[in-house]
Amino acid sequence: MTDRSTAAILPMPQAGISGTRKALSMSLWVAALAIPTLAPGYTPLANQIVVMILFALSLDLLVGFTGIVTLGHAALFGTGAYTAGIMALRWTNDPLITALSGMAAAALVGLLTGSCMLRTKGLAFLVLSLAAAFMLHELANMATSVTGGDDGLQGVSFSPLLGVFEFDFRGHTAFYYSLACLFAAFLLVRRVVNSPFGWSLRGIRENDARMRAIGCPIYTRRLAAYVMSSALAGLAGALQAQTTQFVALNSLSLELSGDVLIMLILGGSGRLYGAFVGVPLFMFAQDLLAKEDPANWYLGQGLILMVMTLFVPGGVLGLVERLRRSLGRGGR
């Protein structure tokens, strides 16, 4: 209570972040730049992590900020990946054009599915999102001549980035490219969640009936958030295709939808940085456990998740916040 009432003296609420957190966040971004130099062997894994962070960040816009829980987010990731891959095989393999097309395609799929699904909420929405993703997965599985079916799209290669930077086998270009996209997406999402639009999404999450009663068009507001999130998920998918030169059928799978949701919740949803914490944690744990016991590593992962969910609600960032608060109180 004490720290809150002192905050009330401040003239203007700063929706952004405090000074120390800003410095911490900046130094993490800079540290990320050094990964290819300091740990060249880990660059491909780091690239995977960056792509997944972008995917989880797009999900945070829905789950954390708007209160829309979906189990079909991979449908949009996969749409972006397949769009980039198919375009590269047939028309153009320019990375930027295919990435933008992947975003646009995912946004379109998000608009079409979202405009049906968002007429419902909660459990009904969850089931619909699952069904929509299943349908898309099956469609990609059946259309073998276009998608490669179960084998996925292999040997997808892209021309040098901006005509200069080759996607080399060490994965440096890929990593910096993904990181740049993530940074741009992060700035965009941060801006959006701190805007009146972003606040209204939080209002919908908190109490949608009340939002309606103050004149908010809930349906279109949620649809806008959904389309924006879809476009970012599509970008993540396109990056996946471009940086791994492969599109797997499981980029549309329920497994991926579930994993990304778990990663986000592990880190802490609705905090913008949850994806940045949860994804590396999940992927390192996966890496370690898979080395330890390649056959049964899902068992270990399941145990960790149960412990986290039972004892650390709000994810790692939620835990940090509570620790800081109780330390602050003790110090007074």
């Binding site: 929706a15 009146p196 939002m211 103050i214």
Partner: protein
């Protein structure tokens, strides 16, 4: 007040719940700037009447007119845009957001900036000026950064009023604003109600007779879904039938 056209009017407003008539043939008129209260025993249909006015419920028959316009078929959201504001008997806020954000959300929707995606909310100075003015009016400026759920219950009721006022209503329907507040503290609600802009017509429903009689210029007594009598507080207090069925009963309850 006299001579001006009513801002809110009902004509033969009727609502059935199954076979039960909860609102029956109500002809009611509220004038700009008027301070009106509706009283009646439990189950008299007061909240149903408010819900019919606000558009949360559709009437079985009859009409609702807002500023002379027939809004009977209009949605709740549409009526809000036309100037109908209300608070809820059960507090309905954004519990995890600060007091200031609660009010900002309403101001942003009303002033049409809620679609602004790429400009920080904090940069919307005009809207925040209005937010702070509203918080000052209801006496919540000192807790602007506190989460709504951490406010004491009475102050949450005040925040409800601030959120409703943010929409610049022409008519304000207050459904039991003092519900859950000890009678000894209802004067705080009264003093806030006294500062409401004079051009807003206010319709108050409350069980707190002290609050009702001090607030209202006119009182409408609702019994079994119909208007039994309407008049000034003095007239209502002197009315034998009212005393018998309602005031006497509540005096006993209070004693």
């Amino acid at each position: 007040m006299v001579g001006s056209a009513p801002i809110l009017e009902t004509r033969k407003l009727t609502r059935f719940f199954g076979p039960v008539r909860v609102t029956g043939d109500v002809d009611f008129a509220l004038h700009p700037g008027e301070r009106r209260a509706i009283i009646g025993p439990n189950g008299a249909g007061k909240t149903t009447f408010v819900n019919l006015l606000s558009g949360r419920l559709a009437p079985s028959s009859g009409q609702v007119l807002l500023a002379g316009q027939n809004v009977t078929a209009m949605s709740e959201a549409g009526r809000i845009k036309q100037g109908m504001g209300r608070t809820f008997q059960i507090t309905s806020l954004f519990p995890n957001l600060s007091v200031r954000k609660n009010v900002f959300l309403a101001v942003a929707e009303h002033e049409g900036v809620a679609w602004s995606m790429f400009r920080s909310a904090a940069a919307h100075r005009d809207q925040f000026e209005r937010v702070d003015e509203l918080l000052g009016r209801v006496g919540l400026a000192d807790v602007a950064e506190v989460k709504a759920q951490d406010l004491p219950y009475g102050r949450q009721r005040l925040l409800e009023i601030a959120v409703a006022l943010a929409l610049r209503p022409k008519v304000l329907l207050l459904d039991e604003p003092a519900a859950g507040i000890p009678t000894s503290e209802s004067h705080i609600i009264l003093s806030i109600l006294d500062t409401l802009p004079k051009d807003i017509a206010v319709l108050l429903i409350d069980h707190d007779m002290d609050l009702v009689f001090r607030f209202a210029q006119r009182i409408t007594v609702l019994v079994q879904g119909s208007i039994m009598v309407e008049g000034t507080p003095a007239e209502i207090a002197a009315n034998e039938r009212v005393r018998k069925i309602y005031l006497g009963e509540s005096d006993h309850a209070a004693a």
